[in-house]
């Protein structure tokens, strides 16, 4: 950490950040009260909490969509409508004379938790480990700067641009990932930057989805037939999966996709499908599919599951409910489709209108038929720097399954950014994965179609989306299949010694995985110590955590982005970490300049943008031009990572002077 790094005052004041923080809680509590009052007889306690979470996300997204469409993204413009809606939700909830009050809900929650803890000593151990896992990584997330390429490359870069330009893009910025990737989760990053003025809370947005995902998996295990204590124990095991717990504090989207997927499944798998549950599932599914292109596979699996649920066939294990008629099923399907379309289609439709391709850039082909022309393939290009040599060779040999299994078994030391194959940890390997075939066989024997259906809908995306089998963060929802199966088996075993043995093994393996996962995160204790010793406001995150191995370059870049100034950019920095162009409070402005046909027009373009400095890639055309135009550009710093020039205004052209 460079202590001499410049201090940039934040745009958002402390009371604004606190207000925004409280507002998020208020939105959640308001919706919880709403569901407690009006849907107490329809939803269970855990469903009401999940419903409040889904509607909170839905409300925030809706407000950002509308204000973004109006080009009015700003603190007041987003906070005030959210506060008004929250107030209306509270009033709507209070109007109802039935249902639980918030006090009742809290009583109920505390009693349930206490009863669960009393019922099993293993739950204490697993619960404490889960609490430690969630707490430690969420703490790290708000303490440390973004620690993954995707966040620097495009997730937070998009949020920074949307914050700067006050709309949702696309922007005049030469990065297709920024402009064309679907951004529903990134909208939540944007919301945190707007509200708190930093990306501090954006880092742990996914962590909230992780916790909601745990609760949703608990619901699924209960629907599958697990007892409460077994469902809780198995769901909490999720918080020992290395890829999942590391995703909790990264500004990426994969854990958010997993969380929203299991939320949608939980609302679609419930015994009584209603329009309300379909709407909630639709919001979650829309959020999911609008967060990442590959989530289309998860959405397709959800659709199949929904159709299965609504078919009046003998195979449907949910059919024996009075009043569940074909018309209801049709209404449920329509409600789900409409809501999920409303929440999930925005970025795809926009890309389609602008480029003729919903993905913006990818070549979309199915069964030999090209649907949309694009410049990029959808497959992941494997390379030796991502995979170990053995796996790389195995991949090239065409045999895929050994690699998938090897990925499961965690062969590598660490997994920087969660991108590398890195495993799902000991609990998955030893207990959850073997539980899936056991649960499926027994459910088939006993004709428990709901168990089979729930496990199938969690597994199906894995088999549909074959290109990224080895990137386990793409397939976190598979974990839900394992945990549901494990909870189901625990309940089948009753209170036998085998069950106790399995719970003891689960606790031990969880502790072991958490122990070794600490060393896998590519963050050193020195970095944590630095971040801790310097309060967040003084900790210039983009200096201390540069990963270019060039701290002088990082410091120099940091000097040219004080609040209110404009930094012109002629190319992406090394590793396309465009986020580095903004200061930690997002109070400077970044404009993409690129390169013009001749140097003079390029200079005029920079002058017109009002930029004080320009960043150019090393030895590029603009770099050479700027170097030999000392009347227009003053070199501040140069290294292999690029050059930074100060713009000299009010000078004549070199030949006129």
């Amino acid at each position: 950490m460079d202590q001499s790094a410049p201090y940039f005052p934040p745009l958002i004041t402390a009371w604004q950040e606190m207000t925004w923080f409280c507002l998020n809680f208020a939105i959640f509590l308001a919706w919880w009260i709403f569901f407690a009052r009006r849907y107490q007889s329809e939803f269970t306690l855990s469903e009401r909490i999940l419903a409040a979470f889904v509607t909170t996300i839905g409300q925030i997204l809706l407000v950002i969509f509308i204000t973004g469409w109006l080009h009015k993204l700003g603190w007041w413009e987003t906070v005030v409508p959210n506060a008004v809606i929250t107030l209306m939700v509270i009033i709507l909830g209070q109007v109802s004379k039935e249902g639980n009050t918030f006090g009742h809900e809290l009583d109920l929650l505390i009693i349930r938790i206490w009863r669960l803890l009393r019922s099993s000593s293993a739950l204490w151990i697993i619960g404490i480990l889960a609490l430690f896992s969630a707490g430690w990584y969420l703490y790290l997330g708000q303490l440390l700067p973004p620690a993954c390429w995707d966040a620097w490359g495009y997730h937070l870069t998009w949020a920074a641009l949307a914050h700067q330009e006050r709309f949702l893009g696309p922007f005049d910025f030469n990065n297709p990932y920024v402009n064309f990737f679907p951004k529903n989760t990134d909208i939540l990053f944007l919301w945190s930057i707007i509200g708190a003025g930093t990306d501090r809370w954006a880092n742990i947005v996914q962590g909230i989805f992780g916790l909601a995902g745990v609760l949703a998996v608990y619901r699924l295990a209960r629907i599958a037939g697990a007892r409460p204590r077994d469902a809780v124990a198995s769901a909490l095991l999720l918080l020992s999966v290395p890829v999942l717990i590391h995703m909790q504090w990264k500004a990426m989207v994969d854990l958010a996709i997993m969380g929203s997927d299991v939320l949608a499944i939980a609302f679609l798998a419930r015994k009584r499908l209603t329009i309300a549950s379909a709407v909630l599932a639709g919001v979650a599914a829309g959020f999911m599919v609008g967060s990442k292109g590959s989530a289309v596979y998860n959405y397709f699996a959800l659709l199949l599951f929904l159709i299965y649920r609504c078919l009046p066939l003998g195979m449907n294990g949910f059919r024996h409910v009075k009043g569940h008629k074909f018309g209801t099923g049709l209404g449920v399907i329509i409600a789900f489709l409409m809501v999920s379309f409303a929440y999930g289609s925005y970025f795809y439709l926009r890309n389609w209108v602008l480029t003729g391709n919903p993905t913006g850039m990818y070549h979309v082909e199915f069964a030999g038929i090209t649907f949309f022309e694009g410049t990029e393939e959808t497959s992941v290009h494997f390379s030796r720097d991502l995979l170990s040599a053995t796996l790389y060779d195995a991949l090239n040999s065409g045999s895929e399954w050994p690699i998938v299994l090897d990925g499961f078994y965690d062969p590598q030391m660490d997994f920087s950014q969660g991108n590398r194959i890195g495993g799902w940890g000991a609990v998955w390997t030893v207990l959850l994965l073997p539980a899936i075939p056991f649960a499926l066989i027994w459910a088939l024997i006993r004709k428990k179609w709901r168990v089979i259906a729930i496990i199938a809908v969690c597994l199906l995306p894995y088999f549909l989306f074959k290109y990224n089998h080895t990137w386990l963060r793409y397939h976190l929802v598979v974990l839900a299949a394992g945990t549901v199966a494990f909870g189901y088996i625990l309940s089948l075993l009753g209170r036998t010694r085998v069950r106790r043995l399995l719970l003891a093994a689960a606790g031990t393996l969880m502790a072991f995985t958490l122990f070794i996962s600490g060393a896998q995160i590519s963050i050193t204790p020195v970095e944590i110590s630095n971040a801790r010793n310097h309060p967040y406001q003084l900790n210039n995150r983009y200096v201390s955590f540069d990963s270019w191995n060039d701290p002088v370059f990082a410091r120099s870049l940091n000097l040219v982005k004080p609040a209110g100034t404009t930094l012109a950019v002629a190319g992406s920095p090394p590793a396309e970490k465009d986020l580095a162009f903004w200061n930690q409070y997002f109070t400077n402005r970044v404009v993409w300049i690129g390169w013009e046909d001749d140097g003079e027009s390029w200079y005029r373009k920079i002058v017109d943008s009002g930029a004080g400095f320009v960043y150019v890639p090393k030895d590029s055309e603009p770099d050479i031009f700027a170097l030999f135009s000392p009347l227009w550009f003053s070199l501040i710093f140069t290294s292999d990572n690029g050059s930074i020039y100060e713009i000299i205004y009010e000078k004549l052209k070199p030949d006129e002077e």
Binding site: Q40, G225, R272, A435, W442, I445, S517, Q520
Partner: protein
């Protein structure tokens, strides 16, 4: 029966929890079906009556045998997977690195950790 009862009981009092193959013999605390709203309502008769027969193992003893077999296979698979997982060469390095890492983290937070000579300084 109102719709809440119907919903909750069918979801939360599944027949698997009182399975005949592994009865809850040593239970001191009664099975907890009280997760959600309608905790005291009995499972509706019509739901029980409509349950289909098992695909195989309609004989109770045979079904119990199959279940026991599955449990044994599961436990052996788990043990084999655990052995395989823990015996990977990378695991020792991970443990060594993790020990050093957590010890250093404890130092950051001024938590005293006893020194172990095996791990060096």
């Amino acid at each position: 029966m109102n719709k809440s009862d119907e919903n909750c009981q069918s979801e939360f009092t599944s027949d698997e929890t009182t399975l005949d193959v592994a009865p809850d013999r040593n239970s001191e605390i009664p099975p907890d079906h009280s997760d959600e709203t309608a905790m005291s309502v009995l499972c509706p008769e019509e739901l029980v009556a409509q349950k289909g027969k098992p695909l195989i193992g309609q004989n109770k003893k045979f079904r119990s045998f199959i279940f026991s077999l599955l449990v044994i296979v599961y436990i052996f698979t788990a043990i084999a997977s655990g052995y395989w997982y823990l015996s990977r060469p990378v695991r020792k390095d991970q443990i060594d690195k993790a020990y050093v890492w957590w010890t250093a983290i404890a130092g950051v937070y001024h938590i005293p950790v006893p020194k172990d000579e095996r791990w060096g300084d």
